[in-house]
Symmetry: C2
Subunit: 440 residues, 2 copies
């Protein structure tokens, strides 16, 4: 053999592998429940048990979703970070600080790290991975995107020999639940949001979800892995779902579409197209049937073609499933070798295309005067901006006002924006009611 | 740190990692094309290039789908198996022998193995994995199930902390294509099969596909991983699609179902329920929209809940994508350590339930005399065997003959079999037209 066989850890070392948790909320309790439920199988796979050694929480007296021996609990992070017996730190607190400092400290103490913190990984992932790689430690974050769906490791390993051409996903369960409710019951956005809040599917402050910050973080993570290039979150085009009306959803249905909040990353010749916004997709599209709080990510690779991953994108146990799998995989590295072999793969430095260079089809709903010549006037402006039209749908006007829906062919966003500015100023046009991208 | 850090391979060893292929047909050429397309990215990920060193084929003069330097080709397997420079052998010949002997020989020479051979892995996987584990070598087989869909590694690693409760998949593209054609065009089985053969989607001898041997092999592999127990292929209940008629497909549609060839594995308290057969699933079921040659596997895990994997289940490039990813992962182990850490996890010895203990709902189409009392007579027999009925659909008879369709509630297969034997003997019954399981 030309390559030396890696020297493995001493197999007679039967010491358990010990875990420290930072945070024990929704994800932390799901992780603990998952590890407990599978404790026997995990021990068979590893040859040693995985032991939960310490859990750091903000408030020692708060009731929790899992039973924990009080001696495990602490409210001092140092009790986890400085404990030499802890091999793996799972950061499940969320937010950028102090989570980032804690993770760096854990790595510098030689501990492997697992996190489900999408905001932190999206913003500081490169730094965490660099720190881990320098020490041949693992830093895994499967739980940070799409809950229980194994999309990170699939992109890194299972599709690792493909050139990824695009990722397109429904990665926010709250907005997908709201849009599903609006489509199924005809409710307007505000009502559907209030109900989602009442049912615990949306936060009291729903900004992160409905204004698509959450989906932007997830896209940044997916795209950086898929396209081997760091993605600054503020270069991703972002548009939330507040502007979606029942009327648009009804038109979409009539035209054979459903409206979804999509996170889209596409490798274009001139750079990366990265965007999160509501979009219409055909009823036959694989993502169209992804309803309620479910998530799905559709990947197109040079060899594999289309491949889709579907499941629960949030929640205690599904996210706990991903965190626990990461912990198990870190533990495999400790027991059998290979720690630190999956690290940052952002070896390219790709440009993110400005929003104006995004290409898609478009749906435009325009309120106009109800009189002859309106379609001609609007179509002329579209034509002047080289926006070609696929279909026009005009509803019976009321004698005074009419509503006309236009679907364009694939066109650059800068063109449609320029055309709409001009159309809005036409004397016969009362309002651009809405403008929604249409994805093939 | 309580655990010693694994000693990694010497990072200054910049020798390329070399691959030998056994077989260069559909999968072999897709593997080579995938590795070539991503050669730069793979080298960046590994730190050294992956080199194709030797390709063993049956006929040196046969035209191939990929260009190969003639010096790479050989028709002697020993030129691959005995070459000390080859690190990884990819067995892409198919069939049990000589593939099995070649793989064992490769492992015994210290070479890692990748294979896409479903029949061999289903029948002899335990032996291959034992041999690999004893030498801390990798033996990967992602390409053996569902082509480009990363289901093996997802079960082993990404869902590795779940207790898997069920796997349910469309894992044979040929039969799915035929059933999709039958549903969309109303063609009968024979016509749809002939067309699939003409288009290269079905073999001249279609037995392996339409009689579901292929799907049985794949289920054996999936179930052994999911349920941690060896699955003898001949203990899996098997029924192909030859008996599906256009009339059943039409009834299914009327009742809100589609008919798919499903491979089902379910963890029951008393053992494993394992079966491959045509089944009706509701239009809203995640597998119902999987059409043409696409495959999908729906997994239910204790923490993750339902998670589905969808993509191209066969073909040169999709399967090549999985084989190439396996090769890349083996190479990571060679470069960074951790070889041999994913081995056999069949640490349980579970009983496979006999067919009579399978539980599902059932669709039964019965041709009867067209006269009063028929429904009562048949229903009485069902009742006597404790088969409870969900719905009955009677079409207008022609005065002489009638056709009645029954959907039962969930029931043990032994009961429905006994009931149907008795019903077939009723004087008013002319024929049990068909009997198809219905899955929730």
């Amino acid at each position: 053999m030309p390559h030396q066989t890696p020297v493995s850890p001493d197999p007679s070392d039967k010491k358990p592998i010990q875990i420290g948790l930072l945070g024990c909320g929704v994800v932390g309790s799901g992780t603990i429940r998952t590890l407990r439920e599978s404790a026997d199988a995990i021990e068979r796979k590893l040859g040693v048990p995985l032991i939960l050694r310490r859990v750091c929480v903000r408030d020692l007296n708060k009731p929790r979703a899992v039973e924990l021996d009080p001696s495990l609990l602490t409210d001092r992070a140092a009790d986890v970070l400085d404990d030499p017996e802890i091999d793996i730190v799972a950061e499940l607190m969320g937010g950028t600080e102090p989570a980032c400092s804690y993770i760096l400290q854990a790595l510098r103490s030689g501990k492997h790290v697992v996190t489900a913190n999408k905001e932190l990984v999206a913003k500081e992932g490169h730094q965490l991975l660099r720190e881990a790689a320098a020490r041949r430690l693992d830093c895994f974050f499967e739980g940070s995107v799409a809950g229980g769906i194994p999309i990170i490791r699939s992109l890194k390993v299972c599709l690792g020999a493909n050139r990824i051409l695009s990722v397109m996903g429904i990665v926010n369960g709250t907005t997908n639940y709201i849009l599903t409710q609006m489509a199924e019951t005809g409710k307007d956005f505000g009502v559907a949001l209030a109900e989602a809040q009442a049912q615990g599917y949306a936060e009291a402050d729903p900004t992160a979800d409905v204004d698509a910050f959450d989906a932007v973080y997830k896209l940044a993570i997916l795209a950086s892995i898929a396209f081997h290039s760091r993605v600054p979150v503020d270069e991703i085009y972002r548009e939330g779902i507040r502007g979606i009306t029942g009327s648009d959803i009804a038109y979409a249905r009539e035209l054979g579409y459903v409206i979804k909040l999509l996170a889209i990353g596409r490798q274009r010749e001139s750079g990366l197209e990265l965007r999160v916004h509501p979009a219409m997709v055909r009823h036959s599209h694989p993502l169209a049937a992804v309803n309620d709080v479910f998530n799905a990510v559709l990947v197109n690779g040079s060899s594999v073609g289309d491949v889709m991953f579907y499941g629960r994108g949030a929640g205690s146990l599904p996210t706990g499933s991903s965190v626990a799998a990461d912990i198990l995989e870190v533990a495999r590295g400790i027991r059998f070798g290979g720690s630190g072999r999956l690290s940052c793969t952002c070896f390219k430095d790709q440009r993110v295309l400005p929003a104006g260079e995004i290409e898609s089809n478009h749906y435009v709903r325009i309120r106009t005067d109800d009189r002859p010549g309106v379609i001609a006037a609007v179509s002329t402006v579209f034509g002047r901006h080289q926006v070609s039209l696929e279909s026009i749908l005009q509803k019976q006007g009321n004698g005074s006002e009419a509503e006309i829906v236009w679907i364009t062919h694939r066109t650059q966003e800068s063109r449609i924006r320029a055309a709409l500015d001009e159309i809005a100023a036409l004397e016969v046009v009362r309002e651009i009611g809405s403008w929604i991208r249409v994805e093939e």
